[in-house]
Amino acid sequence: MSDGAAMGIGQIDYDGLIPNNVGLAEDQRVRKALETWHPGYIDWWKSMGPEGFQGSSVYLRTAVGVGAEGWAKFGFVRMPEYRWGILLAPKVEGRTIPFGAHKGQPAWQDVPGEYRAMLRRLLVIQGDTEPASVEQQRHLGATAPSLYDMRNLFQVNVEEGRHLWAMVYLLQKYFGRDGREEAEELLRRRSGDQDSPRMLGAFNERTPDWLSFFMFTFFTDRDGKMQLAALAQSGFDPLSRTCRFMLTEEAHHMFVGETGVARVIQRTAEAMNEAGIDDPYDIERIRRLGVIDLPTIQKKANLHFSLTLDLFGNEISTNAANAFNAGLKGRYREDKLTDDHQLTASTYPVLRLRDGAIIKDEVPALSALNMRLRDDYVEDTMLGIGRWNRVLERAGIDFRMTLPHVAFNRRIGEFSAVHTDTAGAVLSAEAWIRQQMAMLPSDDDNQFIASLMQPSWQPGRYAGWIAPPRHGIDNMPGDFEYVRIEN
């Protein structure tokens, strides 16, 4: 196969060790590098991937083509034998650099020397998040509330593994020895490890329970989506194509998170109605029903939202400005925007902290790109929150989920210097300590959630704190055995 992508739809070469649509068979150098890296990856997967289920057969989808139609094929597979591969979205002939100083020039097929370091950093930071979440979620299989959920967890995990492959391919193909070293480092860092942690804060937090998992995939994978969407605009064409394909997988992760939380909310609402409890704050009674009370779900959302906002970095950022101007990282849906795509003369409103007050400041648009992506993120998140609230509306429960203020509980950026409540009112240190428990999960809340985390592995059965999904995966019947547990 010469260049499958050139044919418009991606053909995947499954003959070699590594499925791909990038002509790996002819690319001796990169194939050798990837084959050298492969055993280390498998070791990493076996030691840091889902714990206790490496021998189980899981009903997973595997990509068989990168075209719009039918890229997924479902079947049972043991995870270490999953066909991880290098898949790029089809090449668009004549594509030009869509933004920045080089706008309108032909998109780069090779790394421009002057941007090599900047690009490598972008790839490494993105790449580091992929294995990190697998590590964070590795203990969850044991407490899965159903085989359906367990399968979804593993699907997310193998796809995060594939996202790692995607970034490693770019590093090894375009960044020489440095790239190979970075690829090795990606396997060495460990989420939460004191001596070699993952690069970003949220990816070193624990994911101790399934509600955390759903929140993580809803909030934090959505950051991944925003970052990938911005990188999908890149003038460096291989990165753009890689990210466009990753986005199709990321959509499923968010589906898992959004429906996961929705099902938890639905189950709570149902239980309240069955027990005739109107007051969502009647926490003791609600918890006795074996479901998670809505205020606690809100606190979990507060936590995950604020941790995720930190991933967008400083509101005012030179790095973001440089990456945009260089044509490497665009804005969310850059191709749908109708300005000059250079931003050298425009401004953007940024929330800032001035003398202890939160104010809006117009700053040069180029420096405000992190802020802008964060705003797009918040807007996107709101849509999901709306769908959660429709569940409550339909159930007639007088409670609505909300997003906390962007200044709430921040460790990076303008607001890391202050404490605020969830409405964004600045709090003194003492007031923060007093009110924190009402806004973020307490030890007590976490212990209660942990107490509910009992496995439910019978096909078609669901733990009592979560409602069943409306449809099966791949339209499978309700009692389908998504995971054949073998040890």
């Binding site: 100083a101 370091a117 950093r121 480092e185 060495r188 860092r189 004191q194 001596d195 070699s196 942690p197 690069m199 030179t318 973001a320 400005a321 440089n322 945009f324 101007n325 260089a326 931003l343 050298t344 040069p364 180029l366 420096s367």
Partner: protein, 547 residues
């Protein structure tokens, strides 16, 4: 006005703490605490205000804390050690400010190295987070450099790729001369914006040791104790550096022992130093006198005056040094400094005098010493004569003047205590090509030298009697004032330092020649240059011609 006096209770950017023989100097820059408006000191980036506090802390550690044998330099901020000089400050500052800022920064760094080398107060840099640019330059002033190996923290000199300027405040020179990094690896290091971390940083000798986070604190404490154990520092009770008594006026500033009178029309500062009135009898007396002991008090005042002139009086092109007092008293002070030189405090005072005299050498103004009747250019104060670009001595006595003739005296300290940056005493530097003259001068230690003697020995430039004095002095000063200030700065910096190069002279020489050249070029400071464009996201346009 920029004030160089501060004290720990007023620090905004540093935290000093003590644990027996180990002190910790933690950088915790207040983003809003910059000297001028228009920039925030984020990520432990610094401007002159941060360096002024650092210089004060380093000085106080030496005088007020004889018990401290190791100083641990670290950051109180998470994920960053120090991001170097603040870029927006550099972009907005005048050329003169940048030059003086860099010079002072480097003098402070040399003071840290001087403490390690000569005071038995050893510095240890404990880098957690990134140490970039000036942050790394600061770290490598320490004797021993530790880097946390958390796979994130690293060291870098990103000036060239990031800003199109140099790690010029000693960074490049310390890389080759002190860290002895191989030149090609240094080239890679200085062109890689993200720098180097982990084991490679040790392999390239950029740091001495990397330590994983789990054992970091214990290792830092252990190394600090190791360094302390090797020190010969043995004092008990420190000497408080009390606030300087100063009075500023429109035309100068007055201290108890130093007077600065500015003649604005002549663009000249007349600096007069008073010799000691009374002196303690012995070592105990020196300790009791503390910061009022004349050599210490005078040194601190002169130091402050020099910094004031450098930063706040840029139009003054000429500094005229005079002294007033009893030369015998100055020599008596010198003998105390000589007799008790093994005492920790006396050692510190001698070292401070050495640094202040170096500050004189490094001051980019024309320096003229006028040796007149009733002056006391003796021993330590005679260093000013040898530091000056020209010295003129009054010969004979004036009609009706009962003050007696002008004299010059040498003490042993002129030959040993105050080496210049090039490692030579000012006299050895002066007589670089005439070793016999140096020997002849040494034979006259303690003698009262007349103008004729001094001229014959080559210790002064000219001697004039009453007939010529006024006119000749006036001509020298007027002529000086008429030359190009830039050309004079260049000329003087060349001629003041004879003979050998040291790391110190190389640092200052290269800072002056290369960094300052780059700071003036459009590629850095032009409208489309790197400093102007920094942070905008827009790349600078470089003129590709190599000069």
């Amino acid at each position: 006005m920029i004030d160089f006096q501060t004290s720990p209770d007023r620090y905004r950017h540093w935290k000093l703490s003590f644990d027996g023989a180990v002190a910790t100097l933690a950088m915790d820059v207040d983003p809003a605490g910059g000297l001028m408006g228009g920039y925030e000191l984020k990520l432990n980036s610094y401007d002159l205000s941060v360096d002024i506090e650092l210089a004060d802390a380093v000085q106080r550690l030496r005088f007020e804390h004889p018990e401290v044998r190791t100083v641990v330099l670290r950051s109180a901020k998470e994920n960053v050690f120090c991001a170097g000089a603040n870029i927006r400050m550099l972009a907005g500052a005048s050329h003169g400010h940048k030059v003086n800022f860099c010079k002072f920064t480097n003098e402070t760094r040399l003071a840290i190295e001087d403490a390690s080398e000569n005071s038995g107060q050893r510095y240890l840099a404990a880098i957690s987070g990134s140490a970039a640019g000036g942050g790394y330059e600061l770290a490598v002033t320490a004797d021993y450099v530790m880097l946390i190996d958390d796979r994130r923290s690293g060291v870098s000199l990103p000036e060239l790729p990031l800003l199109a300027v140099l790690p010029g405040t000693g960074g490049l020179t310390r890389l080759t001369d002190k860290r002895k990094v191989r030149r090609d690896l240094a080239d890679v290091f200085c062109t890689t914006e993200e720098g180097v971390r982990g084991k490679r940083a040790v392999q390239w000798r950029l740091v001495d040791e990397v330590v994983p986070p789990s054992s970091w604190e214990a290792k830092v404490a252990e190394r600090a104790r190791d360094l302390a154990a090797k020190s010969d520092r043995d004092g008990q009770r420190g000497v408080a550096l009390t606030p300087l008594q100063r009075q500023f006026s429109d035309d100068g500033v007055t201290y108890p022992h130093v007077q600065v009178a500015i003649d604005r029309a002549g663009r000249q500062a007349n600096v007069t130093i008073q010799g000691p009135a009374e002196l303690p009898a012995d070592l105990r007396g020196i300790h009791d006198a503390g910061s009022s002991f004349w050599p210490l008090a005078m040194a601190r005042e002169l130091d402050d005056a020099l910094l004031h002139l450098r930063l706040n009086e840029p139009a003054v092109g000429l500094i005229v040094f005079r002294t007033s007092g009893d030369p015998a008293q100055v020599l008596a002070a010198d003998s105390l400094l000589e007799q008790y030189q093994s005492d920790w405090l006396v050692r510190e005072i001698r070292l401070l005098l050495k640094r202040v005299m170096k500050r004189v050498d490094m001051t980019a103004r024309s320096l003229i010493a006028l040796i007149e009747p009733s002056s006391c250019f003796a021993g330590t104060l005679a260093e000013l004569v040898f530091a000056a670009d020209r010295s003129v001595m009054f010969a004979g006595t004036g009609a009706g003047d009962n003050r007696g003739p002008a004299t010059l005296h040498l003490s042993a300290l002129n030959f040993s205590a105050y080496p210049m940056g090039n490692g030579l005493s000012r006299l050895a530097n002066r007589f670089y090509g005439e070793p016999d003259s140096l020997i002849a001068s040494a034979e006259r230690i303690g003698d009262t030298l007349s103008a004729e003697d001094a001229e014959a020995l080559g210790l002064v430039t000219f001697a004039y009697d009453e007939t010529d004095w006024d006119d000749e002095v006036r001509l020298i000063l007027e002529e000086r004032a008429s030359f190009s200030p830039d050309a004079l700065t260049g000329l003087e910096a060349n001629l003041r330092f004879a003979g050998p190069e040291t790391m110190e002279t190389r640092i200052f020489g290269r800072l002056t020649a290369w960094q300052n050249w780059i700071f003036l070029r459009p590629n850095a400071v032009g409208e489309a240059g790197s400093l102007k464009r920094y942070g905008s996201g827009v790349r600078p346009d470089f003129n590709p011609e190599r000069v």
